[in-house]
Symmetry: C2
Subunit: 247 residues, 2 copies
């Protein structure tokens, strides 16, 4: 058996999410089917981030074990061939040691959340950003976001179905950048709770609209109650951009 | 009757092109249907650029005449409402004088052509760029492109079904910019022949691959024969970005 690590990009729009589910097509299942079509092996793939339905990835990391002898390049090209015409692509593949685990070896994850603020609905960027028809104050959002950076109990920003053992996480970075009508939110942590990025974005949008202050963000965090924070931002603006491992 | 000018964005993927045709849905028809749904008037819309099937617009300009009294803002919002869920959006609307003509008043058009050079197929950018699985030499393309800038007979880069009276056009700008794995080609002229941008890009790609030199581009232009130039680049990489009018 050889273990391979794959770097994977996908449009999450047509899928129920990364993880295999009864109710529809998942990215995990699509990858496993493509591997089966290539080598006839029923492999189990493990992803670093279990992205939800509609969430995209520019840099998901996946590992899998294959009995058949093949090069990483052959695996990459063959899986891409069998994934056609689905919007999933293996950007790179590498042979790794048997101790490498896409999820448990990861020491950092980065997400990007895109908001497009304009009056007109989205045409070319539809499904690739959250459409917000009013301008948002990015500077106020940036200031408020700093209340969330650091080690905290993120219960207020955690989905009720989150399976993590502890709600305490260390948020390394939460930066808001404005580029014309686009607001880009960069989040980095060792790991995130379920819906944590989307729930933080949903609350920061209230700050951007002037409905919440930075103190409201701090109070929501301190409440340790999901009902104290803002709504969950929609999935289509979220991109898993990078997963980091010890070098 | 009041004449309005609309700034329109669309994903050309699902359409037969800007222009109304027998064989499928056009952007023009979708806009006219939305106007009818709003005010019950069967208007004729005129676009500045007759984009082909699959070609996108970030800044198409359209004019139309409406009998019903309404503000430009109302028209913009109502047309966007009735366009749903199609990937077409009116970014802005303005009342203009009866002499304004989206096509004939235009004094400049700008296009962007996007190429993504990478081994893996496109997932998130599928339908939004030309996928080229090998690296291209952008510097060589930039140098070769300068042979095409200026006033020339562009017969070699003109579709056989082009209806323009003359093949002589003045190309103001053709610049190739590299950003990581993306090559962005910027083209500007008062007007273009049918398929001119895509045919120029198809030939420049041969230069990028090292199969053609800059002299080959010059020779293709001088031949005044479509067969002397390279193939037509696919529509999904092309975006009409801007139309200019006298201020």
């Amino acid at each position: 058996m050889t273990r391979f690590r794959l770097l994977v990009e996908y449009d999450g729009g047509p899928y129920v999410g990364w993880q295999r589910q009864e109710n529809g097509a998942s990215i995990q299942q699509a990858l496993e089917k493509a591997v089966f079509a290539f080598c006839g092996e029923r492999v189990a793939t493990t992803g670093a981030g279990r992205t939800d339905a509609g969430v995209h990835a520019l840099g998901q990391v996946v590992h899998l074990d294959i009995a058949r002898a093949c090069s990483a390049e052959t695996l990459r090209d063959a899986v891409n061939f069998h994934l056609k015409p689905q919007p999933i692509a293996v950007l790179a593949a590498a042979e790794v040691g048997p101790d490498f685990h896409a999820r448990f070896s990861a020491i950092g994850r980065r997400y990007l959340y895109r908001i497009l603020c304009r009056r007109a609905p989205l045409a070319l960027e539809r499904g690739r950003a959250w459409w917000v028809p009013v301008p948002l104050n990015a500077a106020a959002m940036q200031e408020a976001a700093q209340h969330l950076v650091g080690r905290h109990d993120f219960t207020s920003f955690r989905s009720s179905i989150c399976q993590a053992a502890s709600p305490v996480k260390t948020l390394d970075r939460l930066d808001i950048e404005q580029q014309g009508e686009e607001i880009r939110i960069h989040a980095a942590a060792r790991s995130f709770l379920h819906h944590q990025v989307r729930n933080m974005v949903g609350s920061l949008k209230l700050v951007g609209e002037g409905r919440w202050s930075g103190d409201d963000i701090a109070a929501a965090l301190a409440a340790r109650d999901r009902r104290a924070a803002g709504p969950t931002a929609p999935p289509e603006g979220l991109f898993l951009t990078e997963v980091r491992y010890p070098s």
